[in-house]
Every structure is written in structure tokens, then in C-alpha cells.
Symmetry: C3
Subunit: 152 residues, 3 copies
């Protein structure tokens, strides 16, 4: 039985379908013990969550978008590895917020992702991170996050 699978059940988390890039790149690529995961965006009930945080979306909606993005990242890791127990550490997160002019709470937004990773993986989920404001994200999505995981 998967330890992290049980943990997801315990938290009531159901992962979305894994993201399938439409072009000449892949959801993640491995080199040695590192897995590089492509930039992912947030899915809501009505498709991708779009808009500028601090204008079209509130801080709290931004946090939820970052949490939703983390679930997509986990879905990709699960699709690649078959079992999330194979993740030994989340090494690095790069969190990009579609920020309204003057909005400066990118760290609070990306906490939505970081908190989920620690809920799921415990201390192994603590990562180095940058959380910054981008001018434009693909299709106007609210948040885009990429990460590097260490695997066994």
C-alpha cells in the first residue's frame, strides 16, 4: 500500500487527470535522481483559472489556484512514477503569479502550493523556492508553477 497514496486519501485529496502537453515537450523529464516537472497551471470547476491576482482574483482565489496547480503537479509525478512514495524530496519550486500592477503578495499566493506539498509529503515536502510576479502567463492563467523533485 502506498504511504503517500494513503495520505492523500486521509486528506480527502483526489488528483486530477495528468496534464498532457500538446507540443514538442514533456510533462516531466528525468536526469539521474532528479525529475524536472514542466510549468503547470490551475484547473477549476470551469476549466483553467484565469485572471490577474490582485485585480480579477482575490489573494484567497490566488492561493486556491496555487493549491490546484500543486495537485496537477502531483498528478504528473504520479503519472510518471506510478507511486508517489518514490518521491524522496521536493527540491525546488518556482512559483509564478499573474500579478496585477502593484500586487506584492506572491509568497502568500504560492504558499497554497507549498502548504499542500508539506501536507502530503511532510518534511520531505519542504523545498527551496522563489515566488514572483509575471507580466503575462499562457492564456492568462492565474498561476504557473514548475518544480524539481528528487526520486529514489
Amino acid at each position: 500500500m502506498s504511504r503517500i497514496g494513503s495520505r492523500l486519501d486521509e486528506l480527502g485529496i483526489v488528483l486530477p487527470a495528468a496534464f498532457a502537453p500538446a507540443a514538442n515537450y514533456v510533462p516531466c523529464s528525468r536526469s539521474g535522481s532528479l525529475l524536472y516537472v514542466s510549468g503547470h497551471g490551475p484547473m477549476g470547476d470551469d476549466g483553467m483559472v484565469v485572471g490577474k491576482v490582485g485585480a480579477d482574483l482575490t489573494l484567497e482565489q490566488g492561493v486556491q489556484a496555487a493549491r490546484s496547480t500543486a495537485l496537477s503537479l502531483l498528478a504528473t509525478l504520479l503519472g510518471e512514477l506510478g507511486d508517489l512514495d518514490r518521491v524522496t524530496r521536493i527540491v525546488k519550486v518556482f512559483g509564478m503569479v499573474n500579478a496585477a500592477p502593484g500586487f506584492g503578495q506572491m509568497p502568500a499566493v504560492i504558499d497554497g502550493c507549498s502548504d499542500l506539498l508539506v501536507e502530503v509529503f511532510g518534511d520531505a515536502g519542504r523545498h527551496a523556492r522563489s515566488a514572483v510576479g509575471l507580466a503575462e502567463l499562457p492564456f492568462g492563467i492565474a498561476v504557473e508553477i514548475e518544480l524539481i523533485a528528487e526520486i529514489d
Copy 2:
């Protein structure tokens, strides 16, 4: 005879001169089997390609700028390795587009780079990727791309 060298000939691709940083950094740096390549920009017939994609430049011009940037990245890899056959995998691409306000087709722009990498390296050219919109790029260049390659 270099396999990738022949492939470049077959595609009719002539690489530009390798990029020489003017400051205290290097075009690429190696650690173990990974080669980190610095951010590169696009060269056109009249020097650097500048302007905001979606305003000063069309999508198609952005795609061409990303392709041109990929050629510069290859030139740096060749300069470092002596033979592109030593690249075992393109691991990760970070594609940054100088995006006009409201422009959201950064993935289509960066496909200009991703497609070239797959034309040249085949499946080994498929990489994890983020493609995002930056507020400003150095000297107003249209695209900046950095990558991580795995080498033998």
C-alpha cells in the same frame, strides 16, 4: 563523423557564432552530467531581434525569434562540448517571451525552440518546459531562453 553534425547539415542549419558574455558569468557551466546554459537571445540579420511579441512583433516573428535563440543555444553547446553527439538529453527549457500586455500565446512562441530541439536531437530533444511572459528582457530582446542539457 558526428551524428548530430550530419543531422544539422541535412536540415540545412548553420549555427551562428557562440555567444560571449561580456561580464563575470559564463555561457554555460557544468556540474556532474548536467550542463546549465545561460539565457540566450535571438539574432536576426540586423542584430538582436527586439520588441514585444503581440505588439511590435507578430506571433510568427516570435516563433522565428525562439528558433533563432535555439540555434544560439546549440552554438554554445557545440562550443563547450566540441561535438553535439555528447548531448544525451535536453532536460529542461525555460522560455521567456517579451510579451505585450494581454498576449497569452507564449507556448506557441517557445515551440519555435522546442520544435528545433526535437528536429535536431529527436526524442532526446524532448524536454520539460515552462513558457512565460516577462515584463522586460535585456535590451528589449523579443525572447530569452535558458536550458539544462544532460551530457555523457
Copy 3:
């Protein structure tokens, strides 16, 4: 006696206190021989240095902010490793400037960091780099820089 410690003394550099993240992430994380250092910002005499370079801040103030950020990055490396002699190479720097519209001298700004790394580590401080302009940085800081170091 630490070689790099002596070098810092020689340069008259006193490192600031190491940065302590307030959330579910860490100042740096290690995987194999690589240390990923989280995005750091610049501390001035009156707290964080904020503002857009090219508007609120001059180029020279931006350079000083990047240098100050480099000192914070070194403080985190020292806190993690106990001795900066354990750094065998600065592999990669990602420099993000809070850029005023139309400002394009991000490389000159981030030279403030790159130059300091080479002053301190010599040739081992030369790194791959991107230096780009972000729309918004956390709390309006002028510069944010993350890096990857190779350690013994």
C-alpha cells in the same frame, strides 16, 4: 582557517544574518552535490530595498541591491554549510529585476551579484546566468536572485 572566510575579511565583507523563511519552504535544499538556494532579496540600512529599477531606483542603486542580495545568498550558504570553503562552484544564477517599463539594463544590475561572487570565489564563482525583468516582486523589492551551488 577558512580560505573563503579569510577572503571575506580581506574584502572587508561582513555577511548579514541568514534569511529565515516564514512559511513552508526552506532557505536552501540539497540534492546530491547541488544546493538550491531560494530567491533572496536585498537588505539596506532601512530594511528591504524596494522600488522599480529605472524609475524609483537608479541603475547604480539596482547594482547595489544585487550586491546586497548576493551577500544574503552567501549568508544562507554559510548557515547551511558552516564553511564557504565547501562551495566548489557557483553553477547557476537567476537574477530577477523589478524593472520599470522600458528598462533594459538587467544584465548590468545583476552584475552587482555576479561580480561579488567572483570577488569571493574567484573562477569558481563564474556561473551560468539569466538576468531578466519581472513585472512584480514580493513586497516590491528591487531585485530577487536565486542560485544553484555545487558543494563537496
